[in-house]
C-alpha cells in the first residue's frame, strides 16, 4: 500500500505542477501574441521603407504601419517575394529581399530599385553575424547611406569600393572581408533581380 502511494503521488504532483505552469505560459503567450507579431512586422516594414529612402526617422510606429499598408504591395515571382511601393497609382520603387554569404554567417536584407531599374535606391541589412564593431558596422547609417541612388545601368559590377579612385562606395576600414562580402552579394544579386523583373508575370 505504501509503495503504491510513492509512485502515485509524484506522478500526480508532476502533472499538476506541469499543468499549472503550462497554462500560465499559454495565457501569457496568448496575451502578447499580437504584440509580438506586430513588432516583427514593424521591424520588417521599417527595413523595406528604409531601403526605399523614405524618412522613417520622422515617422511613428503607427505611421509606418499605415504607410506600408496603403502604399506597399507584396507580390512574388519565382518563389521570391518583392514589394511595390506606389504613390497615387504611380510606382515609385521595387524592393527585393536578398541573402548571401558574409564573413561569419549569411547576410540578409533588402535592395530597393527605382521603377525603371536604372538606379539603386538603397540597401538595408536585416540579419547578419559580422564582427561587432568592425563588419557589424554595415548596420550604421554612415555605411548604408552610401548606397543611395547608384546607377546600375550598363555596368558589370555595380558596387565598386574607393570613392577616391573612381568607386561609388567606401568600404569599412578594418573590415575588408565583410566589405568585400557585401559588395559581392550586391553585385551578384542585382543582375539576378533585373533578370527576374524581365520574366513574364512580373507586375509592372
Amino acid at each position: 500500500m505504501a509503495k503504491k502511494k510513492r509512485i502515485f503521488y509524484p506522478v500526480v504532483f508532476m502533472i499538476l505542477v506541469t499543468a499549472f505552469f503550462t497554462f500560465l505560459l499559454a495565457f501569457l503567450n496568448e496575451q502578447t501574441y499580437e504584440r509580438i507579431e506586430e513588432q516583427r512586422a514593424l521591424e520588417f516594414q521599417t527595413s523595406v521603407l528604409y531601403s526605399l529612402n523614405l524618412p522613417i526617422d520622422q515617422m511613428s510606429e503607427r505611421e509606418i504601419i499605415s504607410f506600408f499598408k496603403n502604399k506597399v504591395k507584396e507580390k512574388s515571382i519565382s518563389d521570391r517575394n518583392y514589394y511595390i511601393y506606389s504613390e497615387n497609382g504611380i510606382t515609385k520603387g521595387y524592393v527585393f529581399q536578398f541573402i548571401g554569404d558574409g564573413l561569419w554567417g549569411s547576410i540578409s536584407g533588402h535592395i530597393a530599385l527605382d521603377p525603371d531599374f536604372t538606379q539603386l535606391l538603397g540597401v538595408n541589412f536585416t540579419d547578419h553575424s559580422e564582427t561587432p564593431g568592425l563588419g557589424g558596422r554595415i548596420d550604421e547609417n554612415e555605411f548604408k547611406e552610401q548606397f543611395r541612388n547608384i546607377s546600375i545601368e550598363d555596368k558589370e559590377q555595380v558596387i565598386e569600393y574607393g570613392t577616391a579612385s573612381g568607386g561609388n562606395v567606401d568600404a569599412i576600414s578594418g573590415a575588408t572581408s565583410t566589405s568585400t562580402a557585401v559588395r559581392n552579394i550586391l553585385n551578384n544579386q542585382i543582375p539576378i533581380i533585373i533578370e527576374l523583373t524581365q520574366k513574364e508575370g512580373f507586375d509592372e
Binding site: R6, F21, N29, T131, P132, G133, L134, G174
Partner: protein
Amino acid sequence: MNEIKKLFSLGVWKDNPVYRQILGICSALAVTNLLMNSLVMGIGLIFVTAFSSLTVSLLRKYTPKHIRMMVEVLIISTYVIIMDIFLKAYWPEMSDALGPYVGLIITNCIIMGRCEAYAQNNPPFLSFIDGATMGLGYTAVLLFIAFFRELLGFGSLFGIQVLGDGFMRWTLMVMPPGAFFMLGIVIWIARNVFPDQTEGGPVNG
C-alpha cells in the same frame, strides 16, 4: 535582517557565483561586449533566479525528493520563457541583441545551483533574497567585465562615445577571446582577494 545581510555579502561578494563558484560562465562570456546587454541579461537573471528560488521554496514541502530536479527545471524554464516573451513583446531590439542567450538562461547553473543548495532547505522569503543577491553578484561581475570590454573595444559606455575619434578600437576586446582574457583576470584577482580556505591560502603565480 542579519540573515539578509549575510546572504547579500555572500551573493555579491564572498561567494559570488561567477568568480567564486565559477557558474554562469558561458553567458558571462557571451553578452559582455556591451554594458547594456550585460545589464539586461543581469536583470533577467536576477528575476529568474529570485522567482525560481521563491517557487521552489514554496513547493519544497510538497515536492517528492526524487523528482525535485524535474520540478526545478520546469519552474526555471517557465520564468525564462516569461522573460523571453516580455522582451520580444516590449523590447524587440534587446531581444535581437541578446539572441539565443535569453532562452539559454535556463541552462545557467546559478539558478539550478541556488534552488538545490538554498531554496530546498529554506523559507520562501529568504530563498527569494538569496536568488536575487546571487543574481546581483552575477550582474556585478558582468557589468565589470563589460565596462572594460566596451570601453576598450568600442570606446563607448552604454553606447555613449566617451573616448575621442582618435581612439583606436581594440577589437579583440569585443570578440569572444577578449571575454576569456577579462574573465580570467577577474577570477585571478578574486582568487587573490579571497583566498580559498580549502586550498590553504592564496594561489601564487
